[in-house]
Each structure stands twice: as C-alpha cells, then as structure tokens.
C-alpha cells in the first residue's frame, strides 16, 4: 500500500466508505442468493451487487485514482455502462429460460391470468 502514502485523509475516508458500502451491498445480494427459497426470488438477489454495489466500488476506485494521480480518472465508467446495459439482458433471458423450462415440465409457476386473484401463488416450488 506504499503507493497510497500521499493520499490525503479527506479522500481516503470517502474511498473507504464507498468500498465498504459497495462490498456490503454485494455481500447482501449474494447472501440472498443462498437464503431465498425459489428460483424466481433468487433472480432478484444479484441486482443488488450489480446496481449500487458495483456503482459504489467503481466510484471509490475513481476517486482513489483521480486523487492519487491528480488527474481525472473515469475509465471505471466503462465497466459501469457495460453492467447497466448487460445485467438486465442476462437476467431477463435467464428468467425467460427458467419459465420456459418450468412450463415444459408442466408446472407453470405463473397462475393463469383469469383467476390469479382467486388462489394464492406463494409456494409452488421447493
């Protein structure tokens, strides 16, 4: 860590906070991946890490390198843009594929549209 010796404290504090917040959010999302019961619930869990979890860590990296090299370092934005564009696409495809597979096996998790209010749809899968 000797390269960061001349990093002023006013920059080190936000970088540390951003890193901790981002890593915490990502960890929470991944815990959700373990804890939530059904696949469709788990589909929501990684978005924590890919939305603000990644944003905080990228922002922390941007602040760190900008202050350290005393010039604007923004190439982390590229990863951010890439994540924003690609993450919804993969999750949508995966959700669609899962629904398709469930339907092929004959247990449609989505109750037919007519009487969806009539029966609760909380637990269909183990």
């Amino acid at each position: 860590m000797s390269h960061a010796a001349d990093l002023p404290l006013w920059a080190a504090i936000p970088v540390a906070l951003l890193l901790l917040a981002g890593a915490g959010l990502t960890l929470t999302g991944s815990i959700g991946l373990v804890r939530l019961k059904t696949f469709y619930e788990r589909l929501h869990a990684p978005t924590l890490g890919t939305s603000y979890g990644a944003a905080f860590i990228l922002l922390g990296s941007m602040v760190f390198f900008s202050v350290l090299q005393s010039r604007l370092t923004v190439h982390e934005l590229l990863i951010g843009i890439l994540l924003i564009i690609t993450m919804p696409v993969t999750l949508m495809l995966l959700g669609g594929a899962a629904l398709h597979r469930d339907r092929l096996e004959g247990n449609d998790p989505a109750v037919p549209p007519e009487d969806k209010a009539a029966e609760p749809q909380a637990d269909h899968e183990t």
Binding site: G29, H44, A45, L78, P88, G95
Partner: protein
C-alpha cells in the same frame, strides 16, 4: 449529413466510449475515435435497425433521475428482505397490460424493471401486450400496476412515441 451519420446516438456513444478507454483528449486518439464512430454508424446502418428518435430529452433525463432513486430505494428494500426475512412476505407474478408498442421503449422498460431489485421482467406477450412481472415483495397488486404504468410507461410513451 444523414449519409455521413446515419445513427448519431450510436456514433456519439462509440466516440465517448473510445475517449473513456483512452482517457486523453489529445488529437491522435480523438481522430481514431472519430473514425471508429463513423465506421460504427455505417456498420449499424447495414444491419438496418429500427430508427431511434428521442422526442423529449427533458422527460428522458427526469426519468433517469426517477429510476436512479427508485433503484436505490429498492436496493434497501431487498437488502432488508434478505437480512430480516418476514414471515408474511408474499412473492408472486403479476400481469400488467401495457399500452407501449414501440420496441425501443419496451426494451428500455424491460431494462428499468429488471435492473430494479425486487422486480424482474419475465415474459412479454407481443400480441396481447401483457407483461408478466415477478415481484419479490408483493404487497398490493394494484399499486404495482399503478407504479409501472404511471411512473415508467407514461414517460416512456412521451419520450419515444
């Protein structure tokens, strides 16, 4: 102008990405970036995508702000659901009839809903225009329909149609 720059948004974003990657504003990389932007626009024109027209920039910017705040809020909500599971939490699918038909607007709506933790776009029936949405914390179906239609669909219609 149309022949030189058939897809101005695509070319502009390619140029921006190139400059981000190089992180300098010296003429060399800028010139190369310009060449890539033009080539990218032409290549896209050969694929003949649907034309993209953004009618209201103000609404688009406001929608981006709304989405950023909503994603932050639902980040906290989903984190709470994961760390403190409630026994009475109900998950489930809801069907929302959409009036949107523009492909770009639909794609944008799909990205917004999937990027927001707590909602996931699962299926869209192009003929009937009904969207199948999975919601992690389903309190009230009516309010979800209202949120999607009022908060996102309305501005998207203004922007793209």
């Amino acid at each position: 102008m149309r022949r030189l720059l058939p897809h101005p948004y695509m070319s502009a974003s390619l140029f921006l990405m190139w400059m981000l990657m190089n992180e300098s504003v010296s003429p060399g990389p800028a010139l190369l970036g310009l060449a890539f932007a033009l080539l990218g626009g032409w290549a896209l024109a050969m694929l003949q995508p649907l034309p993209l027209r953004i009618r209201r920039w103000g609404t688009a910017l406001r929608l981006a702000g709304v989405v950023a705040v909503d994603i932050a809020r639902s980040n906290l909500g989903v984190a709470l659901v994961i760390l403190h599971p409630r026994a009475d939490r109900r998950q489930g699918f809801i069907r929302i009839p959409l009036a949107l038909r523009n492909d770009t607007a639909l794609a944008t709506l799909a990205c917004i809903l999937t990027a927001t933790p707590g909602t996931a776009w699962v299926e869209f029936d192009r003929e009937s225009g009904v969207l199948l949405l999975h919601v992690l914390d389903l309190i009230d179906e009516e309010s979800w329909v209202r949120i999607v239609k009022g908060r996102y669909e309305q501005p998207l219609m203004e922007i793209f149609q």
